[in-house]
């Protein structure tokens, strides 16, 4: 029986292929949408774990959170290093971890910080030791995997935050890899972590009123600079609260009493996800429409097929097939079409995601993994199967109601 179903599908393979493709595209769209929504949401929530507040230069709070927590956007500016000591002295603050951004190595950001960053992301060393002396670095798991860097390896960072910026290299101050972190599934996987002082060393402690972290490279002019008149600067501070009351009192205090701003990662990521919602809904609606069209196409194809096949089906009855068996062959044709489409759709979706993550670094930086299958996808495939079965049910039912005698005595 199954063999007959496949023979029929094969007989009209062009129509089958088109219908499979149509439904597969709808399934793929839904799966991609789901993957994107679910993974980005999970990433955002995971990535912000342990960080209650980000303090940085004034500007867009979303940009501050994106740059300091997820390491995706440009920083808002710099803040004086004194702010770190002030926050550490605040009784509402459990921990305050500084960040100094400005350089990258092959597109991976070099972050000046302290060991506090490891505990925020619960990152364990997989090999080697933590950075200790200046210009020693620890690589995130993703950085080590993709650059192939090993312990003891030396490399030169270059200015800017992404590989495309292709800033000048800091040839005079090469870094040495002393440790590699185990994978965490969090933003730190894609970071190169070193001490704040290392970052300062690389740049010289800038004196210029550059909005960003020290962009000066001319070590030679160092002494003639107005060095010392300005405080050493950092990019931002990651804060975790000592008690819930801090959530109410600390942000307004920072915003009102200092030239800095305080942004909550939880609030900003919710805002960001809400920004996506109408787009996600629109794409979802379009995919649903496409799925309905595909179901209609399957229905029409089967409707035509059973009319062309009247003789065959009558013959099956003569050979001893029951009405139920005839019904099942037609129903199975629809369901098998849908099953093929479901499978193809899932593969298509993940293929597209894997292509996308490979060609757009920002997607993989955002933590989109191409080949993670979810239970929800099974649900999408089951819904597709259900659509196929519904589309087939009416032609299948019509076939079983058909009177056989006229078909059989026709002497075509």
């Amino acid at each position: 029986m199954i063999r007959l179903v496949f023979a029929y599908l094969n007989e009209r393979r062009l129509t089958t292929a088109l219908n499979v493709l149509l439904l597969a595209i709808a399934v793929a769209m839904l799966v991609m949408l789901l993957q994107f929504a679910r993974q980005s949401e999970a990433r955002f929530l995971d990535g912000a774990e342990g960080i209650d507040l980000v303090v940085g230069a004034k500007g867009s709070p979303l940009q501050l959170v994106m740059s300091s927590v997820y390491h995706l956007d440009q920083p808002t500016g710099n803040i004086p290093q004194d702010a770190l000591n002030d926050l550490r002295g605040n009784p509402m603050v459990a921990s305050a971890t500084p960040l100094a951004l400005g350089d990258q190595f092959r597109g991976f950001r070099i972050v000046g910080s302290d060991y506090g960053l490891f505990s925020i992301y619960r990152a364990e060393l997989a090999a080697g030791r933590r950075f200790d002396a200046p210009l020693e670095v620890v690589l995130g798991a993703g950085v080590a995997r993709e650059t192939g860097a090993t312990l003891g390896q030396r490399f030169v960072g270059s200015h800017g935050l992404s590989a495309e910026e292709g800033g000048q290299g800091h040839e005079a101050t090469p870094f040495t890899v002393t440790g590699i972190l185990a994978p965490t599934g969090k933003p730190i996987d894609r970071l190169i972590v070193t001490s704040i002082e290392s970052v300062w060393d690389v740049h010289g402690i800038s004196h210029e009123d550059d909005a960003r972290l020290s962009v000066e490279h001319e070590h030679s002019d160092h002494d003639e600079d107005l060095h010392g008149e300005h405080e050493p600067e950092i990019t931002s501070i990651l804060v975790s609260y000592r008690n819930p009351a801090a959530a109410v009192r600390l942000p307004p205090a920072v915003n009102r009493n200092t030239a800095m701003q305080a942004a909550s990662p939880a609030r900003e990521s919710v805002r960001l996800l809400q920004l996506f919602e109408p787009a996600i809904e629109a794409v979802g609606f379009f995919a649903a429409l496409l799925a309905a069209t595909a179901a209609l196409a399957i229905f029409i194809a089967l409707w035509n097929a059973i009319r062309a096949r009247e003789g065959d089906l009558a013959l099956l009855r003569v050979m001893g097939a029951s009405r139920a068996q005839i019904f099942m062959t037609v129903l199975l044709e629809g369901t098998v079409t849908a099953l093929l489409a479901g499978g193809l759709g899932v593969v298509l979706a993940h293929g597209a995601l894997s292509l996308a993550t490979r060609s757009f670094a920002s997607l993989s930086e955002a933590g989109i993994e191409a080949w993670r299958l979810g239970l929800d996808e099974a649900i999408i495939v089951i819904v597709a199967l259900f659509l196929g079965a519904v589309a087939a049910a009416i032609p299948a039912f019509t076939v079983t109601r058909k009177k056989l005698a006229p078909t059989l005595s026709r002497n075509r």
Partner: protein, 228 residues
Amino acid sequence: MVESPVRKNPPPLELNDVTFSYGNRPVLDCLDLVAENGEHQLLIGPSGSGKSTLINLICGFLTPDRGTIRIAGEPISEGSETERDAIRRAHISVVFQSLRLVSALSIADNLALAARLARKPVARADIHALLDELDIGSLGAMKPSELSQGEAQRAAIARALIVRPNLLIADEPTSALDDKNAEIVASLLLDQADRHGTTLLLATHDARLRSAFDTVVDLNSLPRTVTA
């Protein structure tokens, strides 16, 4: 009238006083007919005389207005569709003039499917042996559309025979064929029926076949039964 008790060996086919009409258009009137085990009967009559209608009645696709039709003692003219399906499946195979094989399947797969549907599974080797016997052994892997008319009709006969029916019915199996193929197919049917002791009922308007059959039923003459 009380039916006589079921005979020990009921005939494969027994029609009793069968009357049928399409609406108010009478086709068959008070027809009695018995085919004994292994008998070869020819059902003859011009176009429109009701041969196909009679075959549909015998197969249980139509029900008579009056009278009963029994297949090996079981009434196929009564009961639910499922019951009629079961009787047909157990005893009858049909060969049609042009409606022969499932187009999407190869010849061998057609035979295998027929056996499966009749719930009489056979080995692939048996299928090929039968095709060999009908002289189309090399065509098992072909699709029906790739066969000539004569070959296709032989394949259809193979499809009907693979389930080893008690009653083999053929509706105009030769009328789409040229003389040579018609002769081959007719003798093949008779030969196979002989070999396996199958009761054969062949409907045709072709009087040339008369001499080869035990009994000829002429739907247009009265009384209808003539013994050759």
